[in-house]
Structure formats: structure tokens, C-alpha cells
Amino acid sequence: MEDLSYSAILGRMIFQFWPVWLALVLTYAVSITFKRRLGLYGKLFDSPVGMIGFGIVMFWVFTALLADYIVTFDPYAVFSGMKNKPLGTALAGATEGQYSHFLLGGDALARDVFSRMVMGARSVLAIAPAATAFAFMVGITLGLPAGYFGGRLDTGLSFLANLVLAFPVILLFYLLVTPEIVEHKILFFGAFLTTEEQLACKAAHEAGTAGLSCFGLSIPTMMAALLFIFPVIFVVVLLNARFFTDPKKRNLYVGLVVVFGLWAYSGLAFNADPSGELLTSLAQTFPSAAEFLGVETPIRDIWAMEPNLLNVFVSVVFVNAPTVFRIVRGIVMDLKSRDYVAAGQTRGEGSWYIMLWEILPNARGPLIVDFCLRIGYTTILLGTLGFFGLGVAPDSPDWGSTIDEGRKTLTLFPHAALAPALALMSLVLGLNLLADGLREESLRD
């Protein structure tokens, strides 16, 4: 079979993305039709910059969502004879129903670069926005009281934030995202035990004879335990402040959030989500029902994160949260002198109501803008992690790791690294443009 020409490659790639184009056209058609009714989001469609940015971002979002329909090959599969092959190389011995070419060539392990790039979008977009959202929860929950109350609380929290910010990111990653750190458990009863005692505990753990004095958690788990509780706290406080005048409603809402939040929390932070085991035993008790529903045992936990992923996720949240904290704190200090805040105070509102319902909604403009920028920044950080081989998994198709693999043969076969590099760049560029458009539009009125 013939190798493809550049124009054929381009044409085929455009065709391959058809579900994305369809989704984009639909999104734009609906949004532009109703743009006057959609608030800030609608106004985005008045700004060319914002529209382009939004388009690029949504392109990758849809790509991530619909990756299964776009990829031409299994991104993990190795095809003999395709090692480092250039763009558009025909696949020797393609089977029936299988696509016949490597659109963007093959990488050093003879995998399809195009499919890996498409799948990479999924792994990047699964982490970056979520990690940014967590960082925002942490930053907001701490930044609000720091800015609002000021004083010692502010001094203390600001010192901590500056401490994290003074750490060179790369060093922090090297220290936090290593396999050793997952192995080591910080002992609850004496984090500063001597090396001898710690080694003894480790031996005891391996022998299964560890007592309570050797109970401990690994550093990532501990950080996850600390950082992941913030969203729960945030939502509980938010609802309580709003509904405390109506205890019935308050108890219902807060109760739901606590149950659901702690369930997710136990799974994400401690990998202790009971749902998998429960469902599995349920399915085993009623095998006929399970068969009818087509479920296979054992059922996976609903809330769970691989240790590697957790480690990366926690580190990224940890690096981002102090900056968000500083931004929120600054905005709060500015807004707290407004009369509507004083009006809230004079009618005896609680401090958290004022912070969360009077101040926070009015800080949303700059926060939304920063959120977009920060997703971009987080994407860059994830890429950096991948670039240094500290990524999620060694053969993961995420863009940073792929660039890292590709750079070893960069001068001879640049295509393997170039594809994910351009993908990452375009996503971040889209986010930056989107943020710019949002900033411009939110300043307009």
C-alpha cells in the first residue's frame, strides 16, 4: 500500500475528528443563538479572541470525551516494522476493518503517534481541570478567612503560602513524585522517630506484626487527606451559612453533602471506598441478577485513585493552591470594605455567610479568568512532570511523557515529540485566549 501524501494526511486527520467538529458546530450554534441569555458565557461570543480560545479548548475537550471514536489504533499497541516511521506510513499487513496508515508516523516503540496524541488529551484533561478545581477549593477556603479576618490568621496562612511558593516547583516534584515516597509511611506516633525505629516498624509491617505505634500514612496520602477534605468543608459551610435560618432544609442539604462527600473522600484519599466490596458481595449473593445486568465481579470501587495518579494529583494541587490563596485573599481585602458587606454585618450575618455569599460571588470575575489560566498552567506542570519521567505511568500516552520519550531521538525523528508538543501548546494557548476573552468581556460592564 502507498504511503500517504501530506495533504492526504491532513484530510484524513480532519475527517478522523468528525465527531468533534459536529459537537463544536452544535455548541456554537446553540450558544450564539442564546448568547444574550447566557450571562458572561454568552458575552464570550462577542469577543473574537474569546471565541477562538473557547473553540480550541472545546476542541480538546470533545477530543478527550470522544477519543474512542477518533483514534485509528490502540494507543498502547505495538506494530512491528513501524518503529520511528515517518508521517503517513502504510501499515504492513493491516487486517480487515483496521485503518491502513500511521497518520503521524510511529514512535520509538512502534506505536501510532496520532492515536497516542488523541488519547493523551484524555489523560491531560482528566487531571488538569480537576486538580485546578481542588486547588481553588483549598485556596478559597483558606483565602477567604485570611483576607476577611486578617491579623494572626492571615500572617500564619500567608507565611505557609509563601513557604510553598518559595520552593522551586521542579525540586518539589522531584521530592514528592518519587516511588520511595509512596513506600514510606509517616508514623502518626512520632514522625521524628529515629531511623532505627522506623526501620523496625517497616520490618514489622512486612512481617505483619506492626502494632498501633507503627501506624502511619504515606506522605501523598496524608497530603490527600488534608487537601481533599477542603471541598467537603467548603460546601458544608456554604450551605450551612445560607440555610441555618431554616434548620430542616439545612439538615437535609448538609447531611447529604456530608454523606456523599465523606464517601468520595474516603475513596480518593485513603482508597477505602467500601462500594466496590459491597457491590461485589451483593453481586455474588444474587448471581442471577448480576448476570442479568451483565456486571462482572469483582466490581471496582466507585471512588478510587491509583497511587501514582494520586501522587501527581496531590502535588499539582499543592503547588497551585497557594497562588489561588493569594489571589482570593487580595480580592477579599478589597471587597470587604464595601457597604453591602457592612449591611450584612449590621443585620447580624455570620462571617462565613458574608465571605461565601456576599464577597465570593462578587469575586467570580477574576477567579473565573484565573481558573482558565490556571488549568493551562496545570497542564504545563503535568507536562513538566511527564517530561522528567515523573508522570502517571511509564507507557501512558499523556503529552509530557510522550515528549520525554520523543526527545531522545529528537534530531532524527522529531515527529514523535512534535505532535504532543503542538497539542499541548494549542490547548494552553486556547485556555489563555479564553481567559483573555473572559477578562475583556467581564471588564466591559
Binding site: T194, I219, P414, A421
Partner: protein, 359 residues
């Protein structure tokens, strides 16, 4: 003012202690020590032998005590191994412990022995820092003037065509981290098979196979080898600083006192040079200084990518090879650089801004 600097210095020293302790703690975790034991001793050591090795080499005891030793405020460890040879932190194995100094930590100038370089940390680190210094110098020479000019020019007439072109450029560069721009630049200019080089070589415009070198060495600083690494680091910073400068400039240009100046009959050039520039450069100054931590990132990435044996490369090697002392040394340097630039940025901000300086 003196009180202010003193307070900042105090805070800085405190921060430095906390940060170095955190690094010390994280690099001296038992798993790291076990790994060290296996790489220094033998891979096939039993768990007991590993534990013994760790204790014998002074890694026993509480982490606070070891941090004190490393810092040089607690006397260095001493013990005698199974063969009866006295060993200690402050002297080579087998020499007389009595002749050695009691304290030998970072404060005394003893930064430890690097297992990667097979030599003292301080000396190796010094060499590598000098190499990175050259790189940074060129980065600064390229980055600061370019970004300020771009920022000021695009900010002085907001919304103009020049502004839009320059702003788009800045946004594009901030979306291009070093590992992306490096890859693109190499593919474009330093690859014998793709980009410009094969064309130029075909036409006979260049002697070798490539236009620029895809690798750099501190021993031979040439235009052809330095352009790509310098450009790669500078590019990301240019966009960022230029955007800050632009934002600050546009804000100043809409300030009332600029209108006052215009209505006094001051010409546009003079308005920009005399009235706007000084006020507009206060914010970017802080940003440039606070860019250093990020530049450090860039340095690490670029030195890895271009195989330039400087500080960043050393950091990666230290971390990758579990060289605890070297990694600690790198951290001290990194933390120090970050804190000093923060201090300079704080003080500089005060000096540039008469409103704060004189109140």
C-alpha cells in the same frame, strides 16, 4: 526602612531553615537511605545488612539531630564499624577522630560528598553554577529588554494593530513551555532531517548539517550552540513579562495624571517616556524578580534537553541517582536564589515607588 529590611531578612532566614529542613526530611527518608545503602554497598545486601550500613554511616538517630549535623550546629557523628575502624562525619574513615573538627556542616563549608560526582558537593556545584550563570546571563540579556519593549509598545496604544499583534505573540509564548518550544526549535533549526537545516545545507548556505547545535556545552560558548537554549528559556519569560508590562502600561495610560499631562500639552512621546514609563515599570520589576523560580524550572528543562552540564542538569542527576548530599546542596542553592530575588523585589518595589518609600 532598616526595620523593614531586618524583618524581611528574619523571615527569609526562617523560611530558609524550614525549607531546607523539609528537603532534608524528604531526601533522608528510610527508603532513600536503603536505596543508598544498596547502591553504595552492594545490591544483594540483606535487610539487616542494609540497616547496619545505614547506622554505620551516620544515618541513624532522629532526623532533627541529623539535620543539625548537616547544618553544622550539632557535633558530627562518630562510631566504629565492625572491623574496628573509626568512622565519622568530619573525618575520612581510618584517620584520627581527635584531629577532626567537632562541627562540620553546611555552615562550616562542608556540603558533604557527592556519590554521583565522586567528589565534594561544594566544588562540583560551584562549577555547575558558573556554567548556568553564563546561560542565565544571556537569557537575561535577551529576555528583559525584549519583553519590556514589547510590553511598553503594545500597552501604550491599547487596542491598536501593533498591540494586537504583539499581544498575540505574548500569549502564544506563554502557552509554550520550555519543553515544547525546545522541541519545536530543535526540530525546526537543529535537525539534519527536518526544518530549515536540510534546505540550507542543500543550498550550501551552511557548512555543517545543521544551522544551530541541538546541544550545548559550558566549555565552548558559541552563538551557534547557545542560541537555542537561550531562546528556549527566554521565550516563555518574554511572553509573561511582556503581558505584565502591557497590563501595567495600559492601566497607567488610562490614569488621570496621564490625561493631565496630555492636557498640559506634553507630546505623546514625552507622556510615555517621562510620565508613564516609571509608573508602569514598577509592577514588571517585581514580576521579573519573581520570575527567577520559574527560570530555574526552565533551566532544568533546557539543560536536560540540550544536555548542558549546569546546575539544572546536576539537579536532575542528583535526584535520579539518589545522591542525597548533592540534592540537598542543589536545594540550598535553589531556595537561596528564590529568597534573595524575593527580597530584592520587595526592596526594589519600595525604592521605585515614592508613595511607599516616603510615607
Amino acid at each position: 526602612m532598616l526595620i523593614f529590611i531586618a524583618r524581611r531578612l528574619g523571615l527569609m532566614v526562617l523560611t530558609a531553615f524550614v525549607l531546607t529542613f523539609v528537603v532534608f526530611y524528604l531526601t533522608n527518608l528510610p527508603p532513600n537511605l536503603e536505596k543508598l545503602a544498596r547502591s553504595e554497598g552492594s545490591v544483594r545486601m540483606s535487610d539487616e545488612a542494609v540497616a547496619q550500613w545505614i547506622i554505620d554511616n551516620g544515618h541513624g538517630g532522629s532526623v532533627l539531630g541529623r539535620y543539625g549535623q548537616w547544618l553544622g550546629v550539632v557535633p558530627g557523628w562518630q562510631n566504629v564499624d565492625e572491623k574496628g575502624v573509626p568512622r565519622g562525619r568530619c573525618f575520612a574513615a581510618g584517620t584520627d577522630p581527635a584531629a577532626a573538627p567537632r562541627y562540620c556542616g553546611v555552615l562550616q563549608g562542608n556540603w558533604g560528598y557527592s556519590t554521583f560526582f565522586r567528589g565534594p558537593v561544594l566544588q562540583n556545584l560551584g562549577e555547575k553554577l558558573a556554567a548556568t550563570g553564563w546561560l542565565m546571563l544571556w537569557v537575561m540579556i535577551v529576555m528583559v529588554p525584549t519583553s519590556l519593549v514589547i510590553g511598553v509598545v503594545s500597552g501604550m496604544r491599547e487596542g491598536s494593530r501593533t498591540d494586537r499583534v504583539l499581544s498575540t505573540f505574548s500569549i502564544a509564548t506563554t502557552a509554550t513551555p520550555e519543553y515544547v518550544s525546545g522541541v519545536i526549535l530543535v526540530a525546526l533549526l537543529a535537525s539534519p532531517v527536518t526544518g530549515l537545516s536540510p534546505l540550507l545545507a542543500d543550498w550550501g548556505w551552511i557548512d555543517g548539517k545543521v544551522l544551530f547545535q541541538g546541544a550545548a556545552s559550558p566549555d565552548k560558548i558559541t552563538f551557534w550552540s547557545f542560541t537555542l537554549p537561550v531562546l528556549t528559556i527566554a521565550l516563555y519569560g518574554i511572553g509573561y513579562i511582556a503581558r505584565m508590562t502591557r497590563a501595567s502600561m495600559t492601566e497607567v495610560m488610562t490614569a488621570q495624571y496621564i490625561r493631565t499631562a496630555r492636557l498640559k500639552g506634553v507630546s505623546f512621546g514625552q507622556v510615555v517616556m517621562k510620565h508613564a514609563l516609571r509608573n508602569a515599570l514598577i509592577a514588571p520589576f517585581t514580576v521579573i524578580m519573581l520570575q527567577f523560580p520559574w527560570l530555574l524550572n526552565g533551566v532544568v528543562i533546557v539543560e536536560t534537553l540540550f544536555n548542558y552540564k549546569g546546575f539544572g542538569w546536576t539537579l536532575v542527576q542528583a535526584a535520579g541517582n539518589n545522591d542525597i548530599n548533592l540534592l540537598l546542596g542543589c536545594s540550598v542553592v535553589a531556595v537561596f536564589v528564590v529568597l534573595v530575588t524575593q527580597l530584592i523585589s520587595d526592596i526594589g518595589y519600595v525604592f521605585l515607588n515614592p508613595r511607599i518609600r516616603l510615607s
